[in-house]
């Protein structure tokens, strides 16, 4: 241990931290906490949608506040802090053999900007009526016309802070990855998770400032009489949509690329195989990142763009399927010929590969400007992006958690508890989101508090009724969208239960987990990354002697 083992006191260590591992831990704790809140919102939403009629929420505006908060929290305060701030901070320096991030203090402020951002977002619900704009905050609904109170201003500030945090983090990652790799680790020998973080950081650096600009313009429209998006003053609401999606589309890759990286390592480790087509995998991510910047208006096929523009965005969007396909097939080829063990992280990774494929192919359907007319703003879209994000990025969050919790905490999770978590979640989320394809095809619009169908009698409402009786009653009605909404809600409650189970797993691991070895997955040379060369948990300052990579 020696001199490097001394740690600062509790306050200095956790509130003034400059240590990438401690900051990573803070991010992960924050992400889990925010995830429980965002998940609670989705439970309330599914509770309201389990039967036609408005039973639980006050009115449509309250509903809009819930969907807005759910979206913003999950994107900015769960997936991004978890994958980028949490696992990125923890494992980028470890994997490249660096003692810490390039700018440790910048790293600290990145984290501490997230907290006030989250508080501002939550408080916006209680001041000025709440922001019910959807996470896309389209004006004029989000301008003073649609939301006269202060809540949207607060939400905008929340995004400003979260955005600043992301930009600082991205600059830090880029500098770290370019300058602090161990001798011998060329770019083409870098672990794929580091590649993923590098591409993600560039996307953040280029995309988030555009969002910052757009919401600043919205802020001045709201408060200082400008008319960037105000049609009455000669502005254009569509300008905001273009700016938003110029950020928003890369944003979805920002959320999924780190997931790709994590899944690659897990598949390789548990198959005891080197990653198949490593360079193809790395450059597929680069390609996805680059093409991801020129497809944004496929979110806007119904706004009245010229038909040639829509044709271009159709073509460009379809192209993304090619590098994505390369990744899927390379993961399978990595498993091919392997000697696979099915520990919890591997279950999540395999689940990810299949469910991401399902979400990917519905993306190919939606990419077509002509087809999208039928599906835009329906539950088909909701199903699609939850398959790639909720069943994609969030699966990778869990995969990474089980894969690395032994390294991060020094304690192993309990295997059977982890597997139960996986299967409950896997069944639950598929029950939620697969039927939503049917709802979408039938034309059920998203962001609706109520939907077509008869309100069931009191004794058939709610969660605790005989499902057979209820389904018989629903089918007897013939018209409506009740059945699949009911199934979807049941799946949501199962997933909610699985998430509570995850909390149990976390505490069980921290208090009763057995001690983790340095290389507890027995990573072989073909899939070895440097985090397995240090103790579990790693020393407060790692790599006293700089590692060399051959």
């Amino acid at each position: 241990m020696g001199d490097h083992a001394h740690k600062p006191g509790f306050f200095a260590r956790w509130f003034m931290s400059t240590n990438h591992k401690d900051i990573g831990t803070l991010y992960i704790i924050f992400s889990i906490f925010a995830g429980l809140i965002g998940g609670l919102f989705s439970m309330i939403m599914r509770l309201e949608l389990q039967d036609p009629g408005v039973q639980y929420l006050a009115d449509g505006h309250m509903w809009n506040m819930f969907i807005t908060a759910h979206g913003l929290i999950m994107v900015f305060f769960v997936v991004m802090p978890g994958l980028i701030g949490g696992f990125g901070n923890w494992f980028v320096p470890l994997m490249i053999g660096a003692p810490d991030m390039a700018f440790p203090r910048l790293n600290n402020i990145s984290f501490w900007l997230i907290i006030p951002a989250f508080l501002l977002l939550l408080l916006s619900a209680f001041i000025g009526g709440g922001a019910g704009t959807g996470w896309t905050i389209y004006p004029p609904l989000s301008s003073a016309l649609g939301h006269p109170g202060m809540s949207v201003d607060m939400a905008i500030f929340a995004l400003h802070l979260a955005g600043a945090s992301s930009i600082l983090g991205a600059a830090n990652f880029i500098t770290t990855i370019f300058n602090m790799r161990a001798p011998g680790m060329t770019l083409h020998k870098m672990p794929l998770f580091v590649w993923a973080m590098l591409v993600t950081s560039f996307l953040l650096l280029l995309a988030v400032p555009v969002l910052g600009g757009a919401i600043t313009m919205l802020l001045t429209d709201r408060n200082f009489g400008t008319s960037f998006f105000n049609p009455e003053g000669g502005g254009d609401p569509l300008l905001f949509q273009h700016l938003f999606w110029f950020f928003g589309h890369p944003e979805v890759y920002i959320m999924i690329l780190p997931a790709f990286g994590i899944v690659s390592h897990i598949v390789s480790t548990f198959s005891q195989r080197p990653i198949f087509g490593y360079l193809g995998m790395a450059y597929a991510m680069v390609a996805i990142g680059v093409v991801g910047f020129v497809v944004w208006a496929h979110h806007m096929y119904t706004v009245g763009m010229s038909v040639d523009t829509r044709a271009y965005f159709t073509a460009a969007t379809l192209i993304i399927a090619v590098p994505t396909g390369v990744k899927i097939f390379s993961w399978i080829a990595t498993m091919w010929g392997g000697s696979i063990t099915f520990k919890t992280p591997m279950l999540w990774a395999i689940g990810f590969i299949f469910l991401f494929t399902v979400g990917g192919v519905t993306g190919v359907v939606l990419a077509n400007g002509g087809m999208d007319i039928a599906l835009h703003d329906t539950y088909y879209v909701v199903a699609h992006f939850h398959y790639v994000l909720s069943l994609g990025a969030v699966f990778a969050l869990f995969a990474g958690f089980y894969y690395w919790i032994g390294k991060m905490s020094g304690k192993m999770y309990c295997e059977w508890m982890g597997q139960i978590h996986f299967w409950l979640t896997f069944i639950g989320v598929n029950l939620i989101f697969f039927p939503q394809h049917f709802l979408g095809l039938q034309g059920m619009p998203r962001r609706y508090i109520d939907y077509a169908g008869e309100v069931p009698p009191e004794n058939l409402q709610g969660v605790f009724v005989n499902p057979i009786e209820k389904i018989n009653w629903i089918m007897a009605q013939e018209h409506g969208m009740h059945l699949w909404n009911y199934v979807s809600s049941m799946g949501a409650f199962l997933t909610g239960f699985a998430t509570l189970w995850f909390v149990v797993v976390v505490f069980h691991t921290l208090f009763f987990g057995r001690k983790a070895d340095d290389n507890y997955w027995n990573a072989q040379p073909q899939s070895f990354t440097l985090e397995w060369s240090v103790s579990s948990p790693p020393p407060f300052h790692q790599f006293d002697i700089q590692p060399k990579v051959k």
Binding site: P52, G60, H61, G132, Y138, P140, L141, L145, G225, N230, E232, D236, P237, L238, S271, R273, F276, G277, Y278, T302, V303, A311, T314, A315, A321, V322, G325, I332, M335, G337, G338, S339, I340, T341, I350, I353, F354, T357, V361, V365, N368, G369, G370, M371, I373, A374, D377, G443, P445, R447, D450, A452, G453, V455, I471, I474, M475, M481, H482, Q526
Partner: protein, 285 residues
């Protein structure tokens, strides 16, 4: 025991009925319980979308099953027990070329009909009639500029005022009446925030954006009642501003026009050509 048996019978019955209904959902131009695919097409535009989707569905199901099969095979064949020594292969250039080129070919197969669909459904050069649609918080305004400026507003029928045959959340007080076998252009705008006008059975969805007029078209093939719902979040009652269209024969439409001219003449809706009243709240911004 009998109670248990009853439950089991009910369970089996439900499964069977459910499977049958799911497999052959009654096709209808409105949302049906347990349906898996799109509402029955009522226009040529929707039919084109259906044909394209039928093709896509085969392709994407095939891809998913292919990936699933590969995964199942890998899990069975290459688990630790079945294959104790892992292979060391890291590259296979021909294979990598194949799994890049084959998806490209599939995408080209998709793209060609996709572009056809896109251009066909976009606009029509010579519409036989025009319907002007304006979105408001939270109702729709309709004008028939080719029919002496019939104009009216259309609100959702509240649940407790529904009449026999009307659909909760879908039926409106003033329905839009349109002739079948007519090329109809629609001009869509909004007066406050963004809304979106859609009828799933028509294969039409177009955003209503203030100070901007969007255009598309459709040709209804058969008479019937068709529903749609606002499809862009527009505030508190976003869920409660449906669209109801009655498609009738050309003769019936003529008769309706005569009746409507009188019925909506007394209404306080501004006649065609006059400006919509500008909201004071909007000016105050």
């Amino acid at each position: 025991m009998t109670r248990f048996k009853n439950y089991m019978n009910a369970f089996v019955f439900t499964l069977l009925v459910g499977a049958l209904l799911a497999a052959f959902p009654a096709m209808a131009s409105e949302p049906m319980e347990g349906a898996l695919l799109m509402q029955e097409a009522a226009t040529s535009s929707a039919q084109r979308i259906h044909d394209f989707h039928d093709m896509l569905l085969v392709i994407i199901t095939g891809i998913c099953l292919f990936v699933l099969l590969l995964l199942v095979f890998v899990v069975i064949r290459f688990n630790k027990r079945a294959n104790p020594t892992p292979s060391k292969v890291t590259h296979n250039v021909p294979l990598e070329i194949i799994w890049t080129v084959v998806p490209v070919i599939i995408l080209i197969i998709i793209a060609v009909p996709s572009f056809k669909l896109l251009y066909k459904n976009d606009r029509i050069a010579e519409p036989e009639m025009t319907l002007k649609i304006t979105g408001y918080q939270w109702y729709w305004g309709y004008e028939y500029p080719d029919h002496d400026g019939i104009a009216f507003q259309s609100y959702m029928v509240p649940t407790d005022e529904l009449k026999e045959g009307q659909r909760r959340l879908l039926s409106t007080d003033n329905v839009v009446v349109l002739p079948i076998e007519t090329d109809i252009a629609i001009l869509v705008t909004a007066n406050d925030v963004i809304h979106s006008w859609t009828i799933p059975a028509f294969g039409v969805k177009i955003d209503a954006i203030p100070m901007r007029t969007n255009e598309t078209w459709f040709r209804i093939e058969k008479p019937g009642v068709y529903y749609g719902q606002c499809s862009e979040i527009c505030g508190k009652d976003h869920s409660f501003m449906p669209i109801e269209v009655h498609a009738v024969t050309k003769e019936e439409f003529k008769a309706w026009v005569e009746k409507a001219k009188e019925e909506f003449a007394q209404s306080d809706v501004p006649a065609i050509g006059s400006e919509q009243p500008i909201k004071l709240t909007a000016l105050a911004q």
